[in-house]
């Protein structure tokens, strides 16, 4: 039982990261009906942005590790990635918005390949060690269940960001406009909503969340490299589909489910099956409930 709770704790921490990435997928899909394949790579850029920021601030050499410094690094990398998201949307996705969805998908794959190879060229292909912006400590939750303060930070930061996002979407004018664009883009445009600007904001927020995930991963698994975004990106998308794509709470639940089930597989079956479990769950869910756990079934119009 102790083993189970230990894997559960690890899974929740890891799942929060999936959830953060999945939010970006689900928001972009909600507004554009586009699988933003480059999203996992934005998360990678977020990790590297945090790495370089922490280095520039001299963490571990000039300055002491502290939560304040960590917050600066986190917000900085979120800002950089928000900018990156806006650029990607403006330069790559906007020109193909009126083309077929397949064209947009291939463009997204192109952007993904670009970010990966750009990363290899600029950051180097070898893994980098993420500086310790918060001094590591181990905390005993219960008899034999150990978590690090990093894992707790991951969960707390994720919860704060998700609550903030939910409030933003539910309570603000811009949030309302985002929901309107997701509901029906042309109708929203006719109601005077600046659709282009809302889409830009959606990309900025989604990319900032991915950057936060990148920072948090750097904190817990301090080895970062330019191809680190591929698998988490795909799995976060699966998490978004699992929860019901387009649904914000669905992405959170999907991400957590994904993280927990992965760690249970690692703990009880074999770590080699870790990458398969995500897809097994996905297929099972889609065959039983094609719209995902929290997704709405859309009736097909003839």
């Amino acid at each position: 039982m102790q083993e189970f709770f230990q894997q559960l704790a690890n899974g929740v921490a890891w799942g929060s990261i999936y959830a953060l990435i999945a939010l970006g997928y689900t928001m972009v899909y909600g507004t554009l009906r586009l699988i933003n394949f480059a999203h996992g790579d934005v998360y990678m850029v977020g990790a590297f942005a945090a790495y370089f920021l922490a280095r520039a601030l001299g963490v571990g050499t000039v300055t002491e590790a502290s939560p304040l410094l960590a917050a600066v690094v986190l917000l900085g990398s979120m800002a950089i990635c928000a900018l990156l998201g806006i650029l990607i949307e403006l330069l790559a996705y906007r020109p193909v918005r009126r083309s077929s969805r397949l064209t947009a998908l291939i463009t997204a794959i192109g952007v993904s390949l670009f970010l990966e190879n750009f990363g290899i060229r600029v950051f180097g292909a070898d893994p980098k060690f993420f500086p310790q912006v918060i001094a590591p400590r181990t905390i005993t939750l219960a008899e034999g269940v150990l978590v690090t303060n990093h894992q707790i930070t991951v969960v707390v930061v994720s919860i704060v960001l998700m609550v903030a996002l939910t409030l933003f979407i539910k309570r603000t004018r811009t949030g309302k406009a985002m929901r309107a664009v997701a509901f029906h883009r042309d109708a929203a445009s006719l109601m005077g909503i600046p659709v282009d600007r809302i889409i830009t904001i959606t990309f900025a927020i989604g990319s900032a969340l991915a950057a936060a995930a990148g920072f948090l991963v750097g904190l817990t698994n301090p080895k970062i490299e330019p191809l680190m975004g591929i698998m988490p990106g795909i799995k976060a998308f699966v998490a978004a589909v699992l929860g019901g794509i387009g649904s914000v709470p669905g992405a959170m639940i999907g991400g957590l489910l994904m993280g927990i089930s992965e760690y249970l597989v690692v703990g009880y079956i074999s770590s080699t099956y870790r990458d398969a479990i995500a897809f097994v769950i996905l297929i099972a869910v889609l065959l039983i409930r094609p719209a995902g756990l929290l997704g709405r079934n859309v009736a097909e119009k003839v």
Partner: protein, 327 residues
Amino acid sequence: MLWRRVAGGVIAIAIVWAVEWAASSVLNPYIYRVLVLCSINVILALSLNLVNGITGQFSIGHAGFMAVGAYASAAYTVYAVPVWFGASAGAGWLAAGAFLIAILVGGLVSALAGFLVGLPSMRLRGDYLAIVTLGFGEIIRVIILNIDAVGGARGFAGVPTRTNLAWVLGGAWLTFAVIRNLMKSYHGRALLAIREDEIAAEALGVPTTRYKVTAFVIGAFFAGVAGALFSHYTYLHTNSFTFMKSIEVVIMVVLGGMGSLTGSILGATLLTALPELLRFASSERLIIYSLLLIALMIARPQGILGQRELTLPFRRRRSESRPTLAA
């Protein structure tokens, strides 16, 4: 007109072997290798086009079926051939015959996998279908990675090299012929109808699910053939069949033009050659490649050929009589 077909086949085989003989004696090994891999990619792109371009179902798990074909045929060659054909099956006609069977084994096992995957997946549409096929592709890869008899994470060593340019050209030609003839047949029309409007096709009495699964199975068969040709050519490891490989094939199909068979050939050739041609730029080549891809999608979203086909000048009269689909 059976004799014409038989004669055509004999001539085609003769041409293919002549090309192989000429290529292996004239070209340097590097270009020869690129040509072989290029032809394998042509088979993959054509077979995926049957599912994605002609039937209009978006699958991005093609590498999984390639992997099934590659490993099934390699396992057959390594474990079954020495027992059934004896140790003398190392060269000559006997080896060629054993290899032909290996290719068929690869294709058939892959087709079976395609049936098992296609039957449940084909109920889904659009992005959901895409993500489920991607999922199945990855599951297949992870399962193979965990089978120790085929090497697991070490890779499958000891598969003899049997593939040469003649085999892959023959394979590509056969794939093209089968899919082209299928497309022009009664059944091909049903597939096109499903692409154009699935609900209308269903209303007109086309059993859509059966046709979609059939197209998927045929696509998987040829992906398996491509896998068999691949596994008897170069070192076999599951890393060759990640979802990036599936994506690569999708890009070939979309770039050439969805639904255009000659487009798939063009797309596969271009995308295999492009990274090689960009070798002068060494570390920047993949950056250039990705930027070219984005630029092409913005400039020509329907792919290079769209839905049109390239035809040889002296064949044009015949192909003009083909009924065209309303856009």
